[in-house]
């Protein structure tokens, strides 16, 4: 690997920003999934079922 030279801070900042943004996207989507599953479980517990008769959390 070559040295990053006099503009190393620009290169490192670019890669760090991309990594941080991608990690935030992954985290946000994973948390949203957990949140939606939780809400479906609550609805299932309260006795609401889908029109098809299947459980709320069932695929």
């Amino acid at each position: 690997m070559t040295s990053l030279g006099p503009y190393a801070s620009f290169i490192v900042t670019s890669y760090a920003l991309v990594a941080a943004t991608v990690l935030i996207l992954i985290g946000w989507i994973a948390l949203d999934y957990r949140h939606q599953k939780e809400r479906l479980r609550e609805l299932e517990t309260s006795g609401v079922t889908r029109r098809s008769g299947r459980q709320a959390t069932e695929i």
């Binding site: 070559t2 040295s3 670019s14 599953k37 709320a56």
Partner: protein, 243 residues
């Protein structure tokens, strides 16, 4: 499983559960290989090591336009074919597209400062990409502002198709106007002008980021389907309590 089967959200969820782990694995492998190749790529004779920013800037810039293209096809699916998952696909793609556009703008700016001497210039390419970013934000605001999903879907689909006019403007801005931004060096008549030492890592990173988009998009679509299921069950619950 045929394409028509995927119109059924339950079948789509089942397919997503099977495909997502493989897609995520392939994405991680390709991005790791791409990052290794980017780290090992030689310095450019003019730009020095700052050429390494290209390996993340260009895939994000391509995806910023590609995602809007996907949303435009989904908009046609909403307006013309009334496909049940078309609006789900468009709504799930918007924040991901906005993130790629943000990264294209910021990494471009960080590349521009040492190479052009400025972080920002109101030239046609930079300005048209900034407009694309603002359009992503307005679409996301529209989906949040309209409570009825079917009304929001139609309005968002129209706005998406109007916004698609910006895609050729972004692509050809460097040819139509005198811009600080360089002309195309990969997707151009006569083939890529990049040396293989830069082109191969760039293409690996581009495929890796495209797979990343597919992975995140499928996962976000799954979430949106579940959100709509929650909404309809809450409405059923409310009407049962009122009766």
């Amino acid at each position: 499983m045929t394409l028509i089967d995927l119109a059924n959200p339950s079948k789509f969820l089942a397919l997503t559960a099977r495909v997502l782990p493989w897609l995520a694995g392939a994405t991680a492998i390709l991005l790791l290989v791409g990052l290794y190749q980017a780290a090992m790529a030689p310095d450019d004779y003019q730009q020095g090591a700052t050429v390494k920013i290209m390996f993340i800037h260009v895939p994000n810039a391509w995806l910023s336009m590609f995602v809007w293209g996907v949303m435009s096809i989904a908009a046609l699916g909403t307006l013309v074919w009334r496909h049940p998952l078309a609006d789900v696909a468009a709504k799930a793609a918007a924040p991901i597209g906005a993130a790629f556009t943000f990264l294209a703008l910021v990494t471009g700016s960080l590349w521009g400062r040492p190479m052009w001497g400025t972080y920002w210039e109101w030239d046609a390419r930079l300005t048209s990409v900034l407009i694309l970013f603002l359009m992503y934000l307005s679409l996301m605001a529209l989906w949040r502002a309209v409570e009825d999903p079917s009304r929001a879907a139609r309005a968002a689909a129209v706005l998406t198709l109007v916004g698609a006019i910006n895609l050729p403007i972004i692509k050809f801005s460097v040819d139509w106007w005198n811009t600080l931004h360089q002309p195309a060096s990969v997707m151009r008549m006569g083939g890529p002008s990049l040396d293989k030492a830069f082109l191969i890592p760039l293409l690996v990173m581009a495929v890796g980021f495209s797979l990343l988009f597919m992975t995140l998009h499928l996962a976000a679509m799954r979430n949106e389907i579940l959100r709509r299921r929650v909404r309809s069950l809450q409405m059923m619950q409310a009407s049962q309590q009122a009766a």
